[in-house]
Amino acid sequence: MPAPIRLRELIRTIRTARTQAEEREMIQKECAAIRSSFREEDNTYRCRNVAKLLYMHMLGYPAHFGQLECLKLIASQKFTDKRIGYLGAMLLLDERQDVHLLMTNCIKNDLNHSTQYVQGLALCTLGCMGSSEMCRDLAGEVEKLLKTSNSYLRKKAALCAVHVIRKVPELMEMFLPATKNLLSEKNHGVLHTSVVLLTEMCERSPDMLSHFRKLVPQLVRILKNLIMSGYSPEHDVSGISDPFLQVRILRLLRILGKGDDDSSEAMNDILAQVATNTETSKNVGNAILYETVLTIMDIKSESGLRVLAINILGRFLLNNDKNIRYVALTSLLKTVQTDHNAVQRHRSTIVDCLKDLDVSIKRRAMELSFALVNGNNIRGMMKELLYFLDSCDPDFKADCASGIFLAAEKYAPSKRWHIDTIMRVLTTAGSYVRDDSVPNLIQLITNSVEMHAYTVQRLYKALLDDISQQPLVQVASWCIGEYGDLLVSGQCEEEEPIQVSEDEVLDVLEGLLVSNLSTPVTRGYSLTAIMKLSTRFSSLNRIKKVVSIYGSSIDVELQQRAVEYNALFKKYDHMRPALLERMPIMEKTATNGPSETVQTNGETDSTILDTKHLPSISQPASQANDLLDLLGGNDVVPIIQTTVPTKPASAGGELLDLLGDLSLTGGPTPTPASSVPMSQPPFLLDGLTSQPLFNDIAAVIPPMTAYNKNGLIIEFTFERSNPNPNIAVITIHATNSTEADMTEFVFQAAVPKTFQLQLLSPSSNVVPAFNQGSVTQVIRVLNPQKQQLRMRIKLTYTHKGSPVQDLAEVNNFPPQSWQ
């Protein structure tokens, strides 16, 4: 058999292949040749063959038949053989093959070899891919090498020890004696790896941590020497001596100083020194400064030092290098809560970063800007943020809009300003605004009584320009319906009143009804608006005509509304004015986040809000019934579905009974039971999303794990609903630790009869594998009798292609959640 071709030849040949198929052919041919050569047990060429195999493996081709050959190479006496053998082991073998255990003996021998390079190879391989069994067997050898005088080996041994500790944490004790003198080393390499070893030990064991705290003075001294000493050519990078070592020492100091007053004090000076003396012209210096800042923020440093740290970050923001700006923004975001005032000083620089080209910098700047908004800077900040909203990517718009609404609500200097800001957001990013903002805005507008005329006028003008952005259109039509009389009478004080006639207004509203751009929800809004105008305008006939036309609309929603309004005209005209009168002011309770409405517990109140025709976000009714059937339905109450309410505005209790008697043609009849539907509106209008962006509701109730099976963990976190302590708001977090996604995930719940429960829509129906994300969903439970909370949950999902279903009882609710 001719000698196998050399590695170089092979590489050259493969590179001449012009297509993937050609390459594959060459590789297959060569693999066949190598296989037969292996079978011949040829020692001379084994090394060459394995090298070729490794090259082909790097290109992506399978090479597992070479595993045993690697072992043979490792066992050989020649250095070149060993080297390729170990490389092959590191590339081709891993813990899951039993073959790798065969290496253990070879490595053991090589660790005691006479040549340091062979020892080095063995240490390296063990440190990179040693399994727990191997580590257990060989830890003693590693420990021995840690104490040798050969610095080349000590470095490798130290990091090998790190790997051993990671794999088998119990062995940490074993390395303790060897660490005694590690820090008195002069050799930078050994020092560096020793610091790494110490760091690993401290991170893993609190006992080790307290044991090593006494090293702080020594570390401080070493750091000082590094900074003060002159030029040391070996470890110099751009004029700074051994920056990597400095960074590692700083990190170790951070761990040692965290939570400990004495240690923190001992390192205060050196930190200040590093912070002020390090050169900032190049990335190297900045890397050290960054690590210093992280350390300062984590330990118990005095306030002067913290301000120094934040100023460093502020300076970073002005740096030309975007990497540094990014790093600064990330850190500032972490510290803005605790050192708010110091960060405020850099506000203008942060706002400038909104205009940066890099997406991740922009996002961080945006988050940071929202965190910095307060009563004093609201006007200026809002200008910048609105400008940003205009020009940013669509991915940002939803978050930015929500953030602006929140900030505006908290700090609006005047009602007019607030409304103007909202208008601006609706007109520029209207289609990205979240669904729950519509009811919030409507409530806001209703409550700003003196601005009604101004608002309706501006909204009307916006409608004339553009009817494509649905949230804007919905808010606008609602306002026109409510305040159309103000519009027509030209009562606006804030700005020049426009001249508009009733017909023109009705034209616009009817235009919305027929336009292709309008969603069914929008159409519902505009039909109701037109109806409301019947008490405010005088063109009754026109309105009657429109309403009767839609009585035969294909859209069931519209049809029902039209039919009911028709009935209102025909049979109940005496009630019409009362029904359609102006909305009263809604109670606004919480000042941060969307507001809540008062739970009315089955009674109608004048504070009941207009049923907003929200898009249907419910689980289909059939699923709820399934759950009931399963549970025998005796002690559970139907889940309140968040379906679109099927009645027009309700302002009096008697009305419901009346409407129940209406003979409606087509459309579902409203349920005569007054308890269930009546409590729907407050829930619906409470726009608590399941993923609040800037929510800082304090969680006083401890979270609990409700379900933990087959890799699916469901955690409940609680929030108390502020105005009404009878309502508990539970957010479920579903995570999946298996290796496959759980798709079509549906969570259902049922409670005993004395409770009422509402399930909002989930964040998604896929729970990603490996805990890479979670599905959240909000449950609201009304518990007026303050009974102990119990719940039955049903989970369905698809996992690895097969459907899974499970039922569970949740009884371990913390007492605070229902008391």
Binding site: E95, G127, K155, K156, V162, R166, H188, V284, N323, I361
Partner: protein, 153 residues
């Protein structure tokens, strides 16, 4: 089989990759256990994420649960995958250190050098990194060791 998330915040280099623009791997050093198909997937993902970025982007990309620090030298992307809490700037320096050593060792290194001497490149990596940590940072020392090793061949 270890999943991609080790313990909650384990500060370890997960892998080091050298890829060219076309996506060919010139070096792949893994410090954590991955299946072969996981490795392939990771390589493809990294390539996809890194090649769309240009000069106006930062050198850091959030990737799954951790982040990639990368730098482009001529037609090659040098990527290190670290924990999200790690010091970006320090690892950027580490990459540059590594590249300078390669440059010195291969005398004005180019991609072909890395191709034909791939096993030597692994040796360089092993001299400078071990067990997912930076091991030796002095260029002179590393080069001295490499020459010694070379003399043994």
């Amino acid at each position: 089989v270890l999943s991609l998330t080790l313990q909650p915040r384990c500060k370890i280099i997960r892998f080091i990759l050298i890829q060219n623009r076309a996506g060919k791997t010139r070096l792949a050093k893994w410090y954590m256990q991955f299946d072969d198909d996981e490795k392939q997937k990771l390589i493809e993902e990294v390539h996809a994420v890194v090649t769309v970025r240009d000069a106006k982007h930062t050198n850091f990309v959030e990737f799954r649960n951790f982040k990639i620090i990368y730098r482009r030298y001529a037609g090659l992307y040098f990527c290190i995958c670290v924990d999200v809490t790690d010091n970006n700037l320090a690892y950027l320096e580490a990459i540059h250190n590594f590249v300078e050593v390669l440059n010195e060792y291969f005398h004005n290194v180019c991609e072909l050098d890395l191709v034909f001497n791939f096993y030597k490149v692994y040796t360089v990596v092993d001299e400078m990194f071990l067990a997912g940590e930076i091991r030796e940072t002095s260029q002179t020392k590393v080069l001295k060791q490499l020459l010694m090793l070379q003399s043994l061949e």
